[in-house]
């Protein structure tokens, strides 16, 4: 029974982790940018939903589409005005620029929102259902469902629409995509916008199940990175599976080793992956 509870906790958490990694994997695969500011985008999405909830009284789940729209525009402009300079350039350039962006976003968030912990607490935040002795927190269940829904929508977008086809084609063969009329700058900006919107949604859900500070980005970037490597860059559904792996491992670790060890899992895996498969992990695209 304890094992089943760990599994349920891990799966619910892992779905959200998968959603966090989706945007990172998408941007990495198509633009060849390992975006170290991805966690900061998640953090911004969290604040957006937080203020929509506390300031305007909008239910956090209803606020998600608004936060996603805002984050899409932000991501689109960021790519258009800044990151297009480093698309498909050397790995070091993309790491440096996105690290700089991470620092700036974190600093701005700290200045604008203060370093206080913020949690999004709708009336149903503490509600549970109990099934066969297993406790399922409703908010986490809803967050999990939304994460799966968004992963499914991304899969549909990539595999069933003209835009998605162009995104995948550009990721696979830029020369040929251009030859057949794909305008890469525009496409890159849209792709980064989608990645930012997904990060925004993940941030809003994260705020419902955990707490947001200006500094959460770093550890969320690391988690997303590990999950993107486990799940691969091609298929959103396998990214979600990667998220489940990390979620279950973390929930087992926090029970058997103590809650402080939860973070050690993803960082430990990160180190292991970098040692064991450095080439694959850094040049996957």
């Amino acid at each position: 029974m304890l094992f089943a509870q760990i599994l349920v906790n891990g799966v619910l958490l892992g779905g959200l982790y998968g959603l966090m990694a989706l945007g990172m994997a998408l941007v990495w695969g198509v633009l060849n940018i390992v975006n170290l500011a991805h966690g900061a985008l998640i953090m911004l999405g969290g604040y957006a939903v937080y203020f929509l909830f506390t300031g305007a009284g909008i239910d956090p789940f209803a606020a998600l589409p608004m936060a996603m729209t805002g984050m899409f525009c932000f991501g689109y402009l960021l790519q258009r005005l800044l990151l297009n300079l480093i698309v498909r350039s050397a790995l070091l350039n993309t790491l440096l620029i996105s690290f700089g962006l991470d620092v700036v976003l974190t600093y701005v968030a700290q200045w604008a929102f203060t370093a206080d912990f913020r949690a999004i607490n709708p009336s149903y935040a503490g509600a549970n259902i109990t099934l066969a002795g297993i406790t399922v927190p409703l908010a986490r269940l809803a967050a999990f469902a939304v994460a799966l829904l968004l992963a499914g929508l991304l899969w549909l977008l990539l595999n069933r629409t003209r835009l998605g086809r162009a995104i995948r084609a550009t990721a696979q063969n830029l020369v040929a995509a251009r030859l057949y009329g794909v305008e890469p700058r525009q496409l890159y900006a849209v792709t980064f916008g989608i990645g930012a919107a997904l990060a925004g949604a993940a941030g809003g859900l994260y705020g419902v199940v955990a707490q947001i500070t200006p500094y959460v980005g770093t550890s969320l970037t690391a988690k997303s990175f590990v999950i993107a490597i486990i799940g691969g860059l091609d298929n959103p559904l396998s990214v979600v599976l990667g998220g489940l792996v990390i979620g279950i491992a973390e929930s087992a670790a926090s029970l058997y080793l103590g809650p402080t060890y939860a973070d050690v899992i993803s960082f430990g895996l990160l180190v292991l992956i970098l040692v064991a498969r450095p080439a694959r992990s850094l040049r996957m695209a």
Binding site: R162, A176, A177, G181, D234
Partner: protein, 241 residues
């Protein structure tokens, strides 16, 4: 013959300070199959890059009477000047069908796209059989067919094929040459770049011979095939006596 669809005069181009093409003059009339032959490094692909405007050049390139000098590669493509690039450049992890759809990326006429699909599957029945298969898992010949099919999906007026026969078995090359003739029969003009001069001459009306960046011979393929110099250098025929 018909009006000139592609007309090139005094074209020079190169990479950085290194000149590759010098004073090229070449034309393709509507409805023709014209071949451009030459050995490795002669500058054939470079000439195609200049035509598709992915490489800057001096001189004049006109397509259907319009000057291409100031146009972007996308704009040239949109005029109906479509390339099958050297090395095929397929989207390896996408299905055959999706590769074909990418050829029609800029088209919005659903009915026209459906007709193009029919035409491509009629010309290359094997692509229809393998339409759900990943392009990267096709044989070399099938990949070339997929690349040509993708170009046809763009509804080209001038189809430019670079090194169609490279690495393919003679029987496959023959089949592709047959398809080229068929495509021309449907009103598409063709510029075929080949190292396999024998194959190219078997299907083309006229040809140009490019050597180290200059056109050294041009004419009907029957005349070129009879030219002792061409026979010796490109057809591997030793003149008797």
């Amino acid at each position: 013959m018909n009006a000139k669809l592609l007309e090139i005069e005094g074209l020079s181009a190169g990479y950085g300070a290194v000149p590759v093409l010098r004073g090229i003059a070449l034309h393709v009339a509507a409805g023709e199959i014209v071949t451009l032959v030459g050995s490795n490094g002669a500058g054939k692909t470079t000439l195609l890059r200049a035509i598709s405007r992915t490489l800057a050049s001096r001189g004049r390139i006109r397509f259907d009477g319009r000057d291409l000098g100031a146009l972007s590669p996308e704009a040239v493509f949109a005029l109906g000047l479509v390339q099958v690039p050297e090395g095929r450049q397929l989207f390896a992890r996408m299905s055959v069908e999706e590769n074909l759809q990418m050829g029609a990326y800029l088209r919005r006429d659903a009915a026209g796209i459906a007709r193009s699909f029919e035409r491509v599957y009629r010309l290359f029945p094997v692509l229809f059989e393998r339409r759900r298969q990943k392009a990267g898992s096709l044989s070399g010949g099938e990949q070339q067919m997929c690349a040509m099919g993708r170009a046809l999906m763009a509804a080209p007026r001038l189809l430019v094929v670079d090194e169609m026969s490279l690495g393919l078995a003679p029987v496959v090359v023959d089949q592709l040459l047959g398809v080229l003739a068929e495509i021309r029969g449907e009103g598409v003009t063709i510029l075929l770049v080949e190292q396999d001069v024998f194959a190219a001459f078997s299907v083309a009306d006229r040809g140009y011979v490019l050597e180290t960046g200059r056109i050294v011979r041009e004419g009907k393929v029957s005349e070129l095939a009879a030219d002792p110099e061409v026979r010796r250098a490109y057809l591997g025929v030793a003149e008797a006596g």
